[in-house]
Symmetry: D2
Amino acid sequence: MDRSTAIQPATVSQLGLLFQGVREKTLALCQNLEIEDFGLQAAVEVSPVKWHLAHTTWFFETFLLKKYHNGYKEFHPQFNYLFNSYYNKVGERVPRDQRGLISRPTVDEVLAYRSHVDTHMQQFLSRSDIEEFRPLLELGISHEQQHQELVLTDLKYNLFHNPLYPRILDIGEYPIEKEGGWHPIEEGLYEIGYEGDGFCFDNELGRHRTYLHPCEISTRLVTNGEYLQFILAGGYRKSEFWHSDGWAWINANQIKAPLYWIPDGQGAYRVYTLDGMTDLDLAAPVAHISFYEAAAFAEWSGYRLPTEYEWEAACHHFDWGKRWEWTNSAYLPYPGFKKPSGAIGEYNGKFMINQMVLRGASVTTSEGHSRYSYRNFFGPESRWQFTGIRLARS
Amino acid sequence: MDRSTAIQPATVSQLGLLFQGVREKTLALCQNLEIEDFGLQAAVEVSPVKWHLAHTTWFFETFLLKKYHNGYKEFHPQFNYLFNSYYNKVGERVPRDQRGLISRPTVDEVLAYRSHVDTHMQQFLSRSDIEEFRPLLELGISHEQQHQELVLTDLKYNLFHNPLYPRILDIGEYPIEKEGGWHPIEEGLYEIGYEGDGFCFDNELGRHRTYLHPCEISTRLVTNGEYLQFILAGGYRKSEFWHSDGWAWINANQIKAPLYWIPDGQGAYRVYTLDGMTDLDLAAPVAHISFYEAAAFAEWSGYRLPTEYEWEAACHHFDWGKRWEWTNSAYLPYPGFKKPSGAIGEYNGKFMINQMVLRGASVTTSEGHSRYSYRNFFGPESRWQFTGIRLARS
Amino acid sequence: MDRSTAIQPATVSQLGLLFQGVREKTLALCQNLEIEDFGLQAAVEVSPVKWHLAHTTWFFETFLLKKYHNGYKEFHPQFNYLFNSYYNKVGERVPRDQRGLISRPTVDEVLAYRSHVDTHMQQFLSRSDIEEFRPLLELGISHEQQHQELVLTDLKYNLFHNPLYPRILDIGEYPIEKEGGWHPIEEGLYEIGYEGDGFCFDNELGRHRTYLHPCEISTRLVTNGEYLQFILAGGYRKSEFWHSDGWAWINANQIKAPLYWIPDGQGAYRVYTLDGMTDLDLAAPVAHISFYEAAAFAEWSGYRLPTEYEWEAACHHFDWGKRWEWTNSAYLPYPGFKKPSGAIGEYNGKFMINQMVLRGASVTTSEGHSRYSYRNFFGPESRWQFTGIRLARS
Amino acid sequence: MDRSTAIQPATVSQLGLLFQGVREKTLALCQNLEIEDFGLQAAVEVSPVKWHLAHTTWFFETFLLKKYHNGYKEFHPQFNYLFNSYYNKVGERVPRDQRGLISRPTVDEVLAYRSHVDTHMQQFLSRSDIEEFRPLLELGISHEQQHQELVLTDLKYNLFHNPLYPRILDIGEYPIEKEGGWHPIEEGLYEIGYEGDGFCFDNELGRHRTYLHPCEISTRLVTNGEYLQFILAGGYRKSEFWHSDGWAWINANQIKAPLYWIPDGQGAYRVYTLDGMTDLDLAAPVAHISFYEAAAFAEWSGYRLPTEYEWEAACHHFDWGKRWEWTNSAYLPYPGFKKPSGAIGEYNGKFMINQMVLRGASVTTSEGHSRYSYRNFFGPESRWQFTGIRLARS
């Protein structure tokens, strides 16, 4: 899995092809779903697949077609209300926890919405001045790729609540992790942040210097087998490994293992995947753990989590891309961060509090969507993404 | 609308026809639904239509076919877990608030489940000793009729959360209420409770004497127009009309009008029905109000709510059947109440606390399911049924 | 303990003496308290002792002195805000859950407030037309007696949260219960409600006929020993004994025994009393159980709880007064109930929902405050009063 | 106010004097309190004054006397349970939200506890090898100084819930802020963290290099007058200034001004201080604002909050010490951070998540307790400390 370079379209026609390919890919993820699966929402932070299909479409309609495509008529007057996610500047919207209650428009109607917007987008893409819209187009495409990952992770979370544990598709969630060692990071100044002409999100910009102190970073991820050792050693019962908030959280929620691990009653675990219940593969990297669990495991192991700076400085020296790797860096603006103006400015900046940075990518990340400088972020209790652990030591 | 007598099947073949008719009626209620509508659950006490379709089927399968139909093979080993409602004695079940998360079995699979059980029930109904099972059959049929009403009221509640306000079907939710007066109830002893050979629920039994004091009961329901006067007179802003709990409830939940009333911004209201948004018909009986609102309206009007005894003693002197009428009687056992043994014993007795009795029936009650002795019950804050107000005075 | 007749003052001077005696009794209850104990509030429904001292004083100041005592000057302009309990008509007030946060006025200042009001009340009581104020005086005295009981029960609840389990005073919480049998109640009409010229609360009025069916009522209370058998028989683990709400409540709150029972780790229980931790006396009547527990015990025992009508019809045939006895009657108005006008009208009527009636009196009830017709009421989960169980059978 | 250097005791006898002085200072803060004030706890994160008095004493008893003072007998066997704050390794403890429920031991008993421990500490301080215990002694003294600040801020918060708004003492909460300008920070490497032989907390250690980019930092704090402009400009009603979490927080909690600001009904504000209600001094630095509000103000002003690194690099060029200044740095370990072993290791490390760093000191910070390298930390919604705003710009 080579995640090190994102696709960087050089010409306008490539951009059109990329648009088309990404739009088709989203639908392909849904190929094994029943109509009934499209509407599920098991938690406020998890959205129905149908909503993802419509929201990504709304993004192109709202920020490109309605603004810049002459004569474009919006598909439905209330879809802006229904499928806006969090852009306050674009108006009111359905409360986030009620997305699963919107049975109409139906799946078929949402697919018609997609077709309608795709048709007009293809016209739009043939404009002679299309190059001027490249940043917005790339943002829309990257935005849809982000939601492709969410289609899979949200679906997994939603279906997990069904005691029949449905099987949907096999995406290789637990690839074997190769052996590894420690890669040294030398003391000194490093340049951090995105560099180049391709697309990146606003939060990766403001490439800047940072000073790192000498340390080493593991060239492989922590495995299920190692995490199981932590559990068997009483890791979830000993407060000394945990942040105070983490200790409160595992006790309040009775957390005793990663999400999707189910005790088999004989001391071992079974694991739910989108391909159904499976045995726990001890050689595969652990997934679906919170920051609290990642940090407690690191404390127990005698090591620590890397910072996002250490990670970026060293990432060319190891394989990455199977798990979103929790770092011990809070999600904060880079020194030169500038919020874009307008609604697009709500994209990243307003989330820069109460979140930790994750680096890398996961088995559900769309191809072409990962970058060495990519800054993913979630609250420290989040587990429904394919999150994992890479260790460091000073 | 003549609600005064329930259908009372006299022969076995009539029972078979009744079974078939009720089963078909349930499906007929769903004729205008999209697949996506079947899975909605907007509140813990509201169930998805698909769940109702399966649960009523599970009732026949569990209490008749699996127990008494030789060689019957259950349709699916996990449907007992999925579609048990609250019978602790029949085992574990899906948490009530997660019924909307069960996308599989699909609607088609649930319809196949219904067919499977119906086919076997038809065989079962041809037994020579079928008369012995009449009580259970009648209970199963009445149970499904109860859920027919819930299919409509739950659907209305679920669809109301969609800002598109979908139109499904016209069931005449707001019939005009005729003029009326006061009917006197004389002091003395009255016999209360079900009498006869037909079916009734266990909570109606134990026919017994009760002593009533002289009073009068209105022969008509309170209308939307009258309720609007209460609102305009500041009814929701004056604590003196309210129970202490009711006052706290309307303030905590910002309740300012019946459920489904939406201010139009010009001082009037629009109302959501299963046939879409409509104007408020001032001559129709008010609906979708809590016990707290019913009691506050009565206090404001200078009258009071009747007790369930007064209601039953006088009900032959007025039309009823449009609204479930809140009484000022708590839901408690009649003097001679006996819980049936086994899981069926969980049917009514265990709910005899924290609920108020409603008498009558509503526009969504299935034909043949209403009786003068019928004791419906809900918590004092419930509003999603077609609840209404009849006044009394001492 | 003879609880059957309340003190009924015949002359004005007796009323004055009664007033003085009741006011002194309240202070006497506090004799062993430290200043620090007066301010505790461990739950929203439990008030600080200091608040009780001030609130009962506020009642006389507000409803008598400020209204009818010429030239009376209120003690402090903000005490109406601080010490009003729930009378909406008398204005705003400190939120009920924040009574424990009012360190000023101090205990000494509240005692000065009591002296100030007492002095003026003594003047007021010497009016020649004092007879006209008898109803309000009696209400104020009964109100203070009610709060005397709350001083003790709230104190017990508050101090129980201190792991030192303080000892305050010995009020004989667990008197031995004598042997008993079943007393028959014959079928027929009974007069229910207060009769006489003495004081009673508004909710006891509207003496009226009720028809009772034949049954028997126990002449003694259920003991700790019997309740322990229920626990040992798995009573708290078997859903079939419980109301649906009760079952949810014991599971959500991990209720496994009466309030104040603490497992000693060897299979027995220790019990907290105002006189400190003691052994469980098996021959004493069980106390501090919710309605849910009372009803579950009755179901397990094969009997049932009496209605409040049965209780009142038979109460002259057994001793009562040790425990507030849960009945299976909801707290609702008697047929002829009339709410008094003005703020005093908020005394009882607005609580007539979501509560069950308790009859009798408890070891903490003030002498002269109990009546055969007294209707106490609490929500079905309440346990901090000295509640108990008397059984009936049909 | 010169906050730049902490007292650094050079000799053993100075340490003894410092101990004695700090212990006396704590009591001096309580001089105007009534007994009733000592027990108040208005929120889970706010402790009663009595608890602070006992807990700081427990610290010396637990970590010095019981471990190292031969023959020391603990004052009371249950005080460890009562007055441990959060040290899991030292055993169980009273739930944090129930500290206000512990009326016994009384204030007098806690004062006796303090005397007992002080007496033994004076003996202990005369050991010939006392120098070995200097780190623990300094930690205990600094710990008590921290709690001195909490005594004042918790007291203010607790008394604010009393509608009488008690006056306790005048500590000059709103000193005038002098004029100021922008101080430039040059690009380059800076050394960050404590340097020297004096006392500091573990989280200040690991002095290390960091690379700063060019920017400017204000030499004065934001004033009440400037903050009022933000309010009047609709700052609390415009989502574009707020973090997403902050916007949700102000709306859920109806936050419209700093804590302790009370609208006077004529468009201006009154402010609660420990010296009672006062007018708002527009020239004094704003206080009692959350991180969310500090960040929204900065966004509105067109500037930003400094990082803790920028602050430390520049702090010798401006006066500080009136307000704890929110930085845009999350509270995370310095590169070389090492958790001390044992229970003391719980001091700082386990809180390094979900908190933002505040630099400086406040008008309630004890003399000798502030340092340029001091890292205070609170959750982004905290307001009960004297928190303020210093701006920066790139």
